[in-house]
């Protein structure tokens, strides 16, 4: 079975998932991102790398934040950016996902940044482009169902490398709703690929997918046990609709047991960093004291996110 993310030369053709990408490519993206962090500090925040290229932000699921960061990244590379909120547009009129893609291809798109509520939707698009011979169009997954959010995973890795320099001696804990989290899956894939020796996940059994340990992680249900001596704490967002129902009794109880408070964070290593993909639910998964505290690197994550997305788009668009 061919890897749909790579071209015949083993180079990145699409960025669909971090699971199954070679370590060299992950590292190359992080290395490429490094100089881009400086672009933001210049007076003219633009590079001509993607001048004349058309990038379509194809969002089948609402998102302001992720779409904006992709838009900023593309514009800093001088690309033309077209935003399409398909959630409120043509799919409601009976046009299929692939119809939409064909139409945009006819408008000479060079790259699609895709967000979709169903796992695997970007793969379907990538396969369709391959089957119809459009090898010059690239797909970046901006989050698909519960499956993957590769640029988020990459910006998290960039952040960890920035603060910890090296992955090889780290203990990293991912806390919260792993079951529904595409972010967690991308983090797990990246951390294990980059050689982090111990990746832990912490949360209630109702929010842990089956056979999670087979992905190379240690599963903890006790927050205190799981946080002991970790170098990095990665909190996940708990969606409002999951808080009261068969999975969890309430946000308050979740906070009491799995919320990150200063007292629980004290069990981690003193120099541990705290991350969150945003947007945060203060008082549900994280206490404000921690979110605003010295160990939090949540805002730098956002800044690095733009550089990482510039790196991905420049690597794909240059080819």
């Amino acid at each position: 079975m061919h890897n749909p993310q790579l071209n015949a030369h083993g180079e990145l053709q699409h960025l669909l998932s971090l699971d199954g990408l070679p370590r060299e490519i992950l590292t190359a993206i992080l290395d490429t991102a490094a100089p881009f962090t400086e672009v933001a500090e210049r007076e003219v925040k633009k590079l001509p790398i993607l001048r004349g290229k058309s990038i379509f932000n194809l969002f089948f699921e609402n998102s302001t934040r992720t779409r904006t960061t992709f838009e900023i990244a593309a514009k800093r590379l001088s690309a033309d950016v077209i935003n399409l909120n398909v959630a409120t547009s043509s799919t409601n009129k009976g046009e299929t996902l692939l119809d939409t893609v064909d139409n945009l291809c006819a408008m000479q798109a060079d790259m699609f940044v895709v967000r979709h509520a169903s796992s695997g939707a970007p793969y379907l698009i990538a396969e369709h482009l391959r089957n119809t011979g459009r090898h010059d169009i690239h797909v970046v997954n901006a989050g698909d169902g519960r499956h993957a959010h590769p640029t988020q995973g990459l910006l998290d890795m960039y952040t960890i490398r920035h603060y910890k320099r090296d992955f090889s001696g780290l203990v990293v804990a991912i806390v919260g709703d792993v079951l529904h989290s595409r972010v967690a899956r991308s983090q797990i894939a990246a951390l294990t690929t980059l050689g982090v020796p111990e990746v832990r996940v912490i949360g209630p059994k109702t929010l842990m997918p089956t056979d999670l340990d087979k992905l190379g992680v240690r599963v903890f249900h006790d927050m205190r046990e799981g946080l002991r001596d970790v170098d990095v704490v990665m909190m996940l967002r708990l969606q409002n609709e999951r808080m009261n129902g068969p999975l969890l009794p309430s946000g308050q109880e979740f906070f009491k047991v799995w919320g990150l408070t200063p007292e629980k964070l004290a069990l981690a290593r003193p120099d541990a960093i705290v991350m969150h993909p945003g947007p945060m639910n203060r008082g549900v998964e994280i206490d404000s004291t921690v979110a605003d505290g010295a160990q939090a690197v949540i805002l730098p994550q956002v800044t690095f996110g733009i550089a990482v997305r510039m790196a991905v788009m420049s690597m794909l668009g240059r080819g």
Binding site: S119, G120, L124, D144, R146, H147, T210, L212
Partner: protein, 425 residues
């Protein structure tokens, strides 16, 4: 028409026959095996040298999509597919639109099928009205109309009281109830086996327990009511173990497996291959291995195609939005042969699972070649190959996980009631 099938290797599992023997057919019936009856003058000779001559196959689950889903398939298209696959008897699940819950509908289906004069159809009636699991269907009337059993297809009954009564009522007449083991309202959003693959791909899972919980209930109710059960489309090793135990206990339970579950596992989903969106879901390799062994050991009685044509619109969408189902009727024989080869079974033992065994579950005299039997015959080349491609599939449904494969066996002729309804082009 009098037909002489000459020089073939005759295999009839029902009578343990595997020998070089000619077959003589007149008036739609088998009139001679080995030697012609007195005064027999053939009007047509079929040379079956180096070919296998066996009973037409019997398929326990072929959705022809009529009535209600004619945009997916029609009796005409799917009957052609059945003929090309050497399948001459089809049990039809009741999940049409409207469902097969009314004698008039069943009579119409049987009438349409008879007019086409292809495969024989054996409708499985809806166990409850509209498959809603609330009111019993008119089972005795439906049997008079042609139904051979009753089922809920993929719509499990939520109310255990209703299921209990339905089984009691069916047991009153001795009707067999075919049940798909799905625990109702459990893992409703699931689209793939709940295991490592689904976890990795972020697909909502359907745990094996959805099958075992249903089986615990069905088996206990069978024990209480004395109902005869047929468990359809087993998918897991655990489910299989429960059925095996119930059989050993002496309960009248039979079961089948589909060609998809016999050969594939959740690993075949690969990168979200929507062809592998099936109901029940493809489970682990361990489950698949257990199903293969159990079909050989006889714990699973029959192999079926679970033919469910789905169009491209239903498959060219993200995996979890894809319609469940795959075309399969033309692949039943090749995939039975592939399984038999893998387990080093004789052709006789292999063909038993797609002829006499399913015929007995239906309660039909199909699936055998004795003197006086209906002359439903499949002649195939065991050394030949079937290439699975969209162009070659006759079914209107072109979607199957086996696209692109070369499978063993090639159907040469299909006869229904002594008429050649398919001849290899």
């Amino acid at each position: 028409m009098k037909i002489h099938i000459a020089n073939g290797r005759l295999i009839d599992p029902a009578h343990e026959i595997d020998q070089q023997a000619d077959l003589f057919i007149a008036n739609g019936k088998i009139v001679g095996i080995g030697s012609a009856p007195d005064g027999f003058v053939a009007t047509r000779h079929i040379d079956a040298t180096n070919k296998i001559v066996c009973p037409g196959l019997v398929d326990l689950a072929a959705r022809l999509r009529e009535p209600g889903f004619e945009y997916l398939a029609t009796l005409e298209s799917e009957m052609e597919a059945a003929m090309a696959g050497g399948v001459t008897s089809l049990a039809i699940p009741p999940d049409t639109d409207p469902p097969l819950d009314e004698p008039g509908l069943v009579e119409m289906l049987c009438y349409r099928a008879k007019k086409l004069n292809r495969a024989h159809v054996y409708p499985v009636g809806a166990l409850t009205e509209r498959l809603e699991g609330k009111r019993l269907s008119e089972m005795a009337e439906l049997v008079d109309a042609g139904c051979v059993a009753f089922s809920q297809a993929n719509h499990p009954i939520t109310d255990t009281q209703v299921l209990f009564c339905a089984l009691q009522y069916a047991a009153t007449f001795g009707y067999r109830v075919w049940l798909q083991p799905i625990a109702p309202r459990f893992a409703r959003e699931g689209v793939a086996h709940d295991g490592e693959v689904a976890t990795r791909l972020g697909l909502p899972g359907i745990p094996t327990a959805a099958e075992t919980i249903a089986l615990f209930t069905y088996i206990e109710l069978a024990r209480l009511t004395g109902a005869k059960l047929h468990i359809t489309r087993l998918s897991s090793a655990e489910g299989l173990a429960l059925v095996r135990t119930a059989k050993a206990e002496g309960l009248d339970i039979t079961c089948d497996v589909s060609i998809n579950h016999l050969h594939l596992s959740d690993m075949d989903i690969g990168y979200f291959n929507a062809h592998c969106r099936l109901n029940p879901p493809l489970r682990s390799q361990r489950d698949r291995d257990a199903l293969q062994a159990a079909l050989a050991a006889g714990d699973i009685d029959a192999l079926c195609s679970n033919h469910s044509p789905v169009d491209d619109d239903g498959k060219q969408v993200p995996f979890s939005e894809a319609e469940a189902g795959a075309t399969g009727i033309e692949l039943l024989l090749p995939l039975a042969l592939k399984w038999g080869q893998g387990r080093q079974l004789s052709l006789l033992d292999t063909l038993r699972r797609v002829t006499i065994n399913p015929a007995r579950i239906i309660g039909s005299k199909a699936g055998q070649l004795n003197l006086g039997a209906r002359a439903d015959v499949c002649i195939f080349d065991a050394e030949g190959e079937t290439t699975v491609s969209r162009e070659r599939l006759r079914s209107q449904g072109k979607n199957t996980p086996f696209l692109g494969l070369n499978l063993p066996g090639k159907v040469c002729y299909t006869l229904v009631e002594g008429k050649v309804m398919y001849a290899e082009p």
